[in-house]
């Protein structure tokens, strides 16, 4: 019993207070609903409003995409059913959407490249997988060579050369994004470090590059890479027509990445640099072992946003005549033999789902990584 009443001037605890469970109705599902959905009149109104909105949109979407959809058949079946998506059309065009005009008898090469790439990426991203350093070595050194030989061809080992103008569809989209992602992060880190450098020339060069690239639209960068580069560079040095927009994409995202990384570097307390320097650790090991692991962890959301932006920006390469996935959807949609009122919505729904699955996957993976890294590492 407490003796801390008014008037008493001394107090001495005789027994400890035991730890008790929380009172009912502050935990459990019912309490959660009350606290989060119906805590006030305004909150209750909003809850019902959003419920109504969901009830209005979701059933009709499910209706269109699944319940009333045409799963098999031909153009005539689809024209007869105006209430549902025409998945038969996607099924018919599926190979074209995946490979573009890549010769049919050589498409196994794309499959092999994609499967190997997927396995390596999974190995690399799966935390706790054995020997991830081997995966990194394979993915960053061996795989690019393998992919180049397989996709482009090497007559020496009996693989005919497939001109890049025939590549298309998902192949192009994945290729552009993977290359953009793999190059833009290290490049962005270097640019960010350069921008914070004490050396005036390095700093000026990085600032100029970053501000110039961020100051022009992506389409301009693509046009410049595609049409202006060949004007200045001799013919034999001009990169392939597919490589040019790839370089453009990587450089463009690198500039944005640099600013994201710089934000992380600025959030680092000065003491971390001093702690490392006082131990005699040089600039590069300090950056690699102490500063960047922490700085990059803090800006994972920004990095992944940039990746997602890059992934979706690859659709713009269609402007310089490259048949990326969205471009092939567009072409397929306009095929007169499939013409019908449900074809375009189906094509776009399919394209949207494709982009959404990849972007959402990236976003989820980054959330998991953030949670994992924040465990036990609070300041």
């Amino acid at each position: 019993m407490s003796d801390l009443t008014i008037g008493s001037r001394t107090y001495l605890q005789r027994e400890k207070n035991p730890a008790l469970p929380p009172p009912r109705l502050t935990s459990g599902p019912l309490a959660w609903v009350r606290q989060n959905l119906f805590s006030s009149i305004g909150s209750s109104v909003l809850t019902f409003l959003f419920l109504a909105l969901a009830l209005w949109i979701i059933p009709s979407l499910i209706d269109f995409a699944f319940v009333k959809a045409v799963w098999s058949g031909d153009a005539a079946t689809c024209r007869a059913n105006l209430d549902g998506a025409c998945w038969a059309f996607i099924r018919d065009k599926f190979d074209y959407l995946r490979y573009g005009s890549y010769p049919i008898d050589q498409r196994w090469r794309v499959d092999v490249t994609e499967v190997v790439g997927a396995v390596l990426i999974f190995w690399l991203l799966w935390n706790g997988a054995p020997r991830r350093n081997v995966a990194a070595l394979l993915f960053f050194i061996v795989y690019p060579i393998l992919a180049f030989v397989l996709l482009r061809g090497a007559p020496l080992i009996g693989l005919p050369v497939i001109d890049t103008s025939l590549w298309g569809g998902v192949l192009i989209t994945l290729l552009m994004s993977v290359i953009g992602i793999v190059f833009s992060l290290p490049l962005g880190v270097l640019l960010a470090l350069g921008r914070r450098s004490q050396m005036p020339i390095v700093k000026a060069a990085c600032v100029t590059f970053i501000e110039f690239v961020r100051g022009v639209p992506f389409i301009t960068v693509l046009f410049m890479a595609n049409f202006m580069l060949p004007l200045f560079v001799p013919d034999y040095l001009t990169p392939d027509r597919l490589l040019r927009p790839m370089i453009g994409t990587a450089l463009f995202s690198a500039a944005y990445m640099a600013e994201v990384v710089r934000a992380g570097l600025q959030a680092m307390p000065k003491g971390q640099y001093e702690g490392a320097m006082a131990l005699g650790i040089g600039y590069w090991p300090m950056m690699r072992l102490v500063v960047l692991p922490q700085a990059l962890t803090t800006v994972i959301p920004g990095i992944v946003s940039t990746f997602i932006g890059l992934f979706k920006d690859t659709t713009l390469v269609a402007i310089v005549g490259i048949a990326d996935f969205l471009r092939t959807v567009e072409t397929a949609r306009l095929d007169p033999s499939w013409a019908g009122p449900t074809i375009s919505p189906t094509g776009y729904l399919f394209a949207a789902s494709f982009y959404w699955v990849f972007c959402f996957g990236m976003s989820r993976y980054s959330q998991r990584t953030e949670r994992r890294l924040s465990k036990g590492r609070k300041h």
């Binding site: 320097m277 006082a278 131990l279 650790i281 072992l289 036990g376």
Partner: protein, 254 residues
């Protein structure tokens, strides 16, 4: 507790400051500092905040740059030459007010980082070394935790162990107990005392006057960027000469 340090034979100069000046922009922070610290000597530096104590010891491992005068550490003069700066830093350990442990690395990894990357030690050897020093600061059982899971006093002891892993010839302490809860000050001071008893050359910015009395060979009082008074601790506390020193001691010793 208050046994005066026995007179010891001191070695060669470990740190020499000769007419050192430093400015922050127009502001003259260090004014004509000259001081020689012998090997094995323990110096305690005190003074009001903004008097340049921290700046002075941060100049000794070049976390701050001096603009005039000479600083020679273990026979190497500090210049703009990065090689020399890193050479000095390898031999000079530093313990900070806010520990500056690396929060993304475990305690063990904090301790092995520099031995592996600077001394090029094998990982196994570095870990053995780290465990040896973690035992010395009495927290070997924390080796696999992260700094954020430790108390302030434990973190500071890790920071001391981390410095010791580089086997430094000199240790600098920049207010090592100022950021600690009162209950944890003693464990860190005890570690520092045992280090002093083993003959480590130490320069210590601190307001722990008990520590100064117990281990210091000399106490230095700084004010406004200058060394105002320097004396053996017994004499310094019993008989301060300068008005400024008297005023300062009057404020902190009640």
């Amino acid at each position: 507790m208050s046994v005066a340090p026995s007179p010891r034979t001191l070695g060669q100069p470990a740190i020499q400051l000769d007419g050192v000046h430093k400015w922050y922009g127009e502001f003259h922070v260090l004014k004509n500092l000259s001081l020689t610290v012998a090997q094995g000597e323990r110096i305690v530096i005190c003074g009001p905040s903004g008097s340049g104590k921290s700046t002075m010891i941060r100049c000794i491992n070049r976390l701050e740059e001096h603009q005039k005068g000479k600083i020679i550490v273990n026979g190497t003069e500090l210049t703009t030459d990065l090689k020399r700066i890193e050479e000095v830093r390898r031999e000079v350990g530093m313990v900070f007010q806010h520990f500056n442990l690396f929060p993304h690395l475990t305690i063990l990894e904090n301790c092995t980082l520099a031995p592996i990357w600077v001394r090029k030690m094998a990982k196994k050897d570095a870990e053995d070394l780290a465990m040896k020093y973690l035992k010395r600061v009495r927290i070997p059982e924390q080796a696999n935790k992260y700094p954020g899971q430790l108390s302030g006093g434990q973190q500071q002891r890790v920071a001391i162990a981390r410095s010791l892993c580089m086997n430094p010839k000199v240790m600098l302490f920049d207010e090592p107990t100022s950021a600690l809860d009162p209950e944890m000050v003693k464990e860190v001071l005890d570690t520092m005392v045992s280090l002093a008893n083993e003959g480590m050359t130490m320069m210590c910015v601190t307001h722990e006057m008990g520590f100064a009395r117990q281990v210091a060979d000399r106490v230095i009082f700084m004010d406004a960027g200058e060394i105002v008074e320097m004396n053996a601790p017994a004499e310094f506390f019993a008989n301060p000469q300068h008005e400024r020193t008297k005023l300062f001691l009057g404020q902190i010793l009640h």
